[in-house]
């Protein structure tokens, strides 16, 4: 009996039936990432994901999270527009690599759309990058129409676009609402799948609802 237990225990050490080291490490770091709120923590995590990506050459998620960490820095650090673009250039480099390895992955197009939207650091850039962002989101929608981040990013861009250019809270509301509905009901396909967006989506939706009253 003891031998049996022992051999089971030894088997567990090497077996794939149990979560792999890759999945464990990724899941832990992804969780850490969502809780990080400083540029330094996020840069360290970007490096961590980069290290994993260097080893796991056939997996797209580590590259994706490397890019996303670089993007996430922008939400928490006060950056000048030049620094913002530099940060986005780093993310773009990873996204370009993602397009080579995961062409059919809707999340890649969604992340690309987010990067384009963040490039709108002044109103003169709005036209160009809104168009590019919409193009990327259309592609994502073709691959998976049920991804809530598509509608969240569409809604967010509409929210921030001036009314006279076809934007505004009223037009953003149905998009954000649709995103919120999917965020609420949908379960992540696996533990490494991206889950970001619902918090900010709710924030924006709240502002849209407040507008009406």
């Amino acid at each position: 009996m003891k031998y049996l237990l022992l051999s089971l225990f030894l088997a567990a050490l090497t077996s794939n039936a149990f979560p792999s080291e890759y999945e464990e490490v990724m899941a832990a770091n992804i969780e850490k990432m969502y809780q990080s709120t400083t540029a330094q923590e996020l840069t360290n995590l970007a490096n961590q994901f980069q290290r994993i990506a260097n080893v796991e050459k056939d997996k797209w998620e580590p590259v994706y999270y490397t890019a996303y960490c670089h993007v996430r820095v922008i939400f928490f650090a006060k950056l000048s527009s030049k620094e913002t673009h530099k940060q986005l250039d780093q993310a773009q480099k990873q996204i370009d690599a993602l397009f080579q390895m995961a062409k059919k992955e809707p999340e890649v197009y969604i992340l690309q759309a987010l990067v384009y939207q963040l490039r709108i650091t002044d109103p003169t850039k709005g036209y160009k990058y809104s168009k590019l962002s919409n193009e990327a989101l259309t592609k994502a929608e073709k691959l998976d129409a049920d991804n809530p981040r598509i509608y969240y990013l569409r809604g967010s861009n509409t929210f921030h676009t001036p009314k006279m250019f076809g934007g505004g809270k009223e037009k953003a509301k149905p998009l954000l609402q649709k995103a919120a509905d999917i965020f609420e009901t949908q379960k992540a396909v696996n533990r490494l799948a991206p889950t970001w967006g619902s918090h900010h989506n709710n924030e924006l939706l709240k502002q849209c609802l407040a507008e009406k009253e």
């Binding site: 980069q50 290290r51 002044d122 006279m164 250019f165 076809g166």
Partner: protein, 711 residues
């Protein structure tokens, strides 16, 4: 047995977690700590990031010889083998900067760009539309750049003392032989190509790269848009005509069709024209643009545009009441096909063919001049990324020119003039960045023109020195050649290349998105310019390369988009001192299109509340020399100073998910009666005096209204 197993197990697990700690510091070559560096053991997850003091520390369960790697954006990757069985106490990592980074020095001397991502940018593509005096003409917008002449009676680019023919226009690296509509006496012309086709414009006023030949003074480089982003239908209704376009986007390609019709008759009815129009300008045009992206990310661009135009007017000749009747009918077809792709990650190429075919008929009273010109250029260029900071470009071009002119005089006599030329050119150019702060660009160009059976060799050199975060010094030197103009070659082919030598020094500080200052000084000499005397039938005779000249000056540019919110303005001042002997000049003189001082201010203010942009452009220049044949001295008279204030308004609104624009502009709001130059009558009167006929702009005030709808 049991205990042995347990001990063995404990031993195994302790082995598995036997940890080695690695630590150290990451610094630059000058010893400053670098935070955020990724330090790790190659092929493992184990590693850490350096902190704000450049210090890192991590533990690993790996053993033996491992590769320690450090990577950071903008720096070369660092690697070193370490033995984890005897781990080093402290690893010092010195990272070396890579040279090819975005903020590395760029050679900017003499180039003024309107592009999104270029260091030489002083404008952005949209500026061409919103500049008040430009009226949607790329060339007119470039005339607000330093180094150009205000000369509004011409309409073409006159750069740093050079005549209009000394500027060459390139589209996607291929020559556009006829960038302007036909020029007739007293009437200004404008650029042929719609600004909406281009996402980048590079205006080089001197010292340009060995890739470009056949331009003594300047090259204007237009880069067309890539694949259209989406389906659009556009309708433009303008006070001078209308235009329609349709764009269709597919997965890897896009196609745009557009056509337009223009008629200036209503203007001549409403406004008083300085020109006695018999048949105001009427023109039609059509354009096809096709883009295709290959699987390997290669891009094919195809562009064909055709236009037809007709006009006639009477202009005083100082001889009789009726004056000189000028008429012009012409059609032009321009096509441009290019393809760019890469052989490998380090080697890319561009290949293309462009052609211009033009049939132009000019009538001067009863005389008729029919000109047919064909220009075909093929080009091939290769760019190698040799190593970090070293780039090598080389290429060839062949330009075929066939020219035929028939002159039919009032008695029906026909004179035929023609020539054929094959110009073969080749260039090689290196760009070497010694560090992020110093770059040089040596180049060499060689050309052979069959019509004159001559060779030329043109060395070029440019350098740039970064002096601060956003400031740099640049310099350029070069020899530039140009085959004599068709007007001379049709008469005489025993000629040589005209030649210019440029020296440019430039200082730039700031950024186009905030504040930018540019100062350039230049010195230019001209050699072998074509000279002639008027002979039989008023045609040039005794054509020789006997002319020479010089031009030197200072160009200043200041742009500020930061100081006042929503307000963007730029100021240009150019001083020039130039003299040349060419054409039929009896002696060295300042040409008639030169003002020594040119000053312009362009301003734009965005009013968010009404989503409207208000713009103004003010240009002033001192008087230009002109020749009064009644005096002994050549070119000794000076016109009155010139000034123009133009205003415009663009209101942006939304139809469906596309922007539409309502546009209004008024040129010369103040109604200055600018006498631009004077033209002597062709025959002296009974007293032996020549009459001087002032040349003015067609319309004193030009009002333009346009509604540009897209959906």
């Amino acid at each position: 047995m049991k205990s042995v197993l347990i001990i063995a197990l404990l031993f195994l697990s302790s082995l598995a977690t036997a940890q080695v700690t690695i630590g150290g510091k990451v610094v630059t070559t000058s010893g400053n700590p670098i935070p955020g560096v990724n330090i790790y053991l190659e092929g493992t997850y184990d590693g850490a990031s350096s902190d704000s003091d450049g210090i890192f520390r991590f533990s690993t369960s790996k053993a033996g010889i491992q590769m320690l790697t450090a990577t950071f954006i903008g720096y070369k990757t660092w690697q070193k083998e370490i033995n984890l069985d005897a781990p080093p106490a402290n690893v010092e990592i010195i990272l070396e900067e890579t040279i090819n980074t975005l903020d590395a020095v760029t050679i900017t001397a003499g180039s003024f760009a309107a592009a999104d991502e270029s260091r030489a940018s002083i404008m952005q593509p949209l500026d061409i539309y919103t500049t008040a005096s430009a009226n949607g003409d790329v060339m007119a917008a470039m005339r607000t750049m330093p180094g150009t002449q205000a000369a509004t009676d011409d309409g073409r680019l006159l750069v740093r003392g050079g005549d209009a023919y000394e500027t060459q226009t390139y589209i996607d690296g291929l020559v556009a032989a006829k960038p302007y509509y036909s020029k007739t006496p007293d009437v200004a012309t404008r650029g042929r190509f719609a600004p909406s086709l281009f996402s980048g414009v590079m205006f080089n006023s001197g010292g340009y790269s060995a890739e470009y030949g056949q331009a003594l003074s300047s090259v204007l480089i237009l880069n067309s848009n890539d694949i259209a982003t989406e389906d659009v239908t556009g309708i433009s209704l303008m006070s001078i005509g209308g235009e329609m376009n349709q764009t269709k986007r597919w997965e890897n390609s896009s196609l745009s069709l557009s056509g337009g019709y223009m008629n200036f008759s209503p203007y001549q009815k409403i406004f008083n024209s300085n020109i006695n129009w018999e048949k105001p300008v009427e023109a039609i045009n059509g354009t096809v643009v096709y883009r295709y992206k290959t699987k390997s990310n290669g891009l094919f661009k195809g562009y064909v545009t055709a236009d037809w135009g007709d006009l006639s007017y009477l202009t005083p000749n100082g001889v009789n009441e009726q004056g000189l009747k000028v008429s012009n009918t012409g059609s032009t077809v321009y096509s441009n096909f290019s393809f760019r792709d890469c052989f490998s990650e380090k080697t890319c190429y561009r290949v293309g063919i462009s052609s211009t075919y033009q049939e132009n008929n000019i009538g001067l009273n009863a005389d008729d001049i029919d000109t047919k010109e064909l220009n075909i250029e093929t080009r091939f260029a290769v760019v190698h990324d040799v190593s970090d900071g070293v780039k090598l470009t080389w290429g060839f071009n062949d330009t075929y020119n066939k020219y035929n002119q028939e002159y039919i005089d009032d008695e029906g006599q026909t004179y035929s003039l023609d020539f054929t030329d094959n110009l073969v050119g080749g260039f090689i150019e290196g760009e070497v960045k010694f560090s992020k702060n110093i770059a040089i660009r040596p180049g060499l160009r060689a050309e052979y023109a069959s019509v004159i059976n001559k060779w030329n060799l043109a060395p070029r050199f440019a350098l740039a020195l970064k002096t601060g975060e956003v400031s740099q010094l640049s310099g350029a030197f070069g020899l530039y050649h140009q085959t004599p103009q068709p007007d001379y070659l049709k008469l005489e082919d025993n000629l040589a290349f005209e030649k210019a030598i440029h020296y440019v020094a430039s200082y730039q500080a700031g950024e186009v998105t905030t504040r930018l200052f540019r100062a350039e000084a230049y010195y230019k000499t001209y050699h072998n310019l074509i000279t002639y005397q008027f002979g039989e039938l008023g045609l040039p005779a005794n054509l020789q390369n006997n002319g020479d000249g010089y031009a030197n000056g200072i160009d200043l540019f200041w742009r500020d988009r930061k100081s006042i919110k929503g307000f963007d303005y730029w100021v240009t001042y150019s001083f020039i001192d130039t003299k040349r002997k060419y054409q039929d000049f009896p002696e060295k003189a300042t040409p008639h299109f030169i003002s020594n001082h040119n000053f312009s201010v362009v301003g734009k203010y965005w009013v968010n509340k009404i989503s409207t942009q208000l713009g103004f452009a003010y240009t002033t220049a001192n008087g230009r020399p002109y020749n009064d044949p009644n005096t002994k001295e050549f070119m000794d008279k000076i016109t009155n100073p010139y000034s123009d204030l133009s205003l415009n308004l663009s209101h942006v609104f939304y139809l469906g998910n596309q922007y539409s624009v309502l546009y209004l502009s008024i040129n010369n709001v103040l109604g200055n009666d600018n006498e631009l130059t004077y033209r002597p009558s062709s025959i002296a009167d009974a007293q032996g005096d020549y009459q001087l006929i002032p040349v003015k702009r067609d319309l004193k005030r030009m009002v333009f209204i346009g509604l540009f709808l897209s959906f």
